[in-house]
Symmetry: C2
């Protein structure tokens, strides 16, 4: 395998990465100069050992009796997640969800900029979502090249999802944020993050089921 080196291929475990995201969010909300592993833990709902373990994956180190330098930690996390670099993104599918995303105020904080919205419904072409006019799919290649877009958001009906993914991939997109329940098939070097809301829903319903069962049991018992 050429181009691969054994020295320090430190990969951060997924669970740790997920918690680091929580820490990152927390650090953006607090004012103090230092914070202890224990305080971080309490605020995000884990324990101090876990926090310290997680932070060993970073360069930032804490001081005994004081804790971690908030600004420093925040900055390292921002680098880790590339928050500071603006990433240009296109969105395909100008339905309700697409509109919601274009208008989502949170993206700017994470260096995300939606530069164009596409749809294949001729009636929608030219209409505006926020300040962006909806473009036809045939303009996609041009826009991606022009703005050097790397990420595409898919929020079209499920049955068109794979087709759209194929178009995005063939135009050089390397990251896809998939809001449809479809499982996308893409080359290895393309990264897909699924945002399937129905799945979260199942989690909620399952919880309520469990709860009801428990209540019935304790009544019987």
């Amino acid at each position: 395998m050429p181009g691969q080196q054994d020295k320090e291929p430190i990969v951060i475990p997924k669970p740790t990465l997920d918690r680091l995201k929580l820490y990152h969010r927390l650090l953006n909300e607090i004012e103090q100069k230092y914070i202890s592993s224990d305080e971080i833990a309490q605020r995000v709902g884990t324990n101090a050992e876990q926090v310290r373990k997680d932070l060993t994956y970073l360069k930032t180190t804490g001081k005994p009796k004081v804790g971690y330098d908030v600004a420093q930690l925040r900055q390292e996390l921002e680098e880790l997640f590339g928050v500071k670099k603006t990433t240009k993104v296109i969105l395909v599918g100008a339905g309700h969800l697409g509109s919601a995303l274009v208008n989502y105020p949170g993206f700017a904080n994470y260096g995300i900029e939606i530069v164009a919205v596409f749809d294949n419904d001729p009636r929608k072409i030219g209409m505006f979502i926020g300040e962006l006019s909806i473009l036809p799919m045939k303009d996609l290649a041009r826009v991606i090249k022009r703005f050097r877009v790397e990420i595409g958001i898919i929020c079209v009906p499920k049955d068109s999802a794979q087709q759209v993914a194929d178009i995005l991939v063939s135009n050089g997109i390397k990251g896809i944020w998939n809001f449809t329940p479809a499982r996308l098939v893409v080359p290895d070097d393309v990264f897909v993050v699924d945002e399937d809301m129905s799945q979260s829903l199942l989690t909620l319903k399952h919880f309520l089921e469990m709860k009801k069962q428990k209540m019935q049991e304790s009544q019987r018992g």
Copy 2:
């Protein structure tokens, strides 16, 4: 601890539960009568052993040389997730995202019915989202009681999130689907599922960071 029994407190591990959701979705898409662990695995991107292990948490059992009965497995999963029972849900926050959710066609498939939408902006009261007219917050208690609502969706601005959560909880809501980045503080018996899109974003950006680093390394090396 009264009301707690030691016999068979079988709890399905979270990773297993997440995969079961994938299997459930798959089973809804296929026509065949039987399916093998291997086919399930290939279709959802895992391996056969994993699938079989996961299915040991269910009552359904497979037949050698044949596989699992699709209909039976589907039904057991539907029961597990409470898909068949319609759950009534209210939504607070009639912004872009709220509208998107009300119009989301996928909910019906999972037995979710949004029965009312609330907002505290007087200008929005009485306007329609789909077929639902936007109600003032003061109607909330009445609606929850009337429809026996157990789940509330919060998609208001971050700063109002906790306040809304408190209102929901005090009106007997037991499950909250939180679309804001706020961390909600609720009693132990209330279950919160966070749907923080900014967090998924970080996953994507982190991936792109990694990728860039790798490319730089391989150029240097």
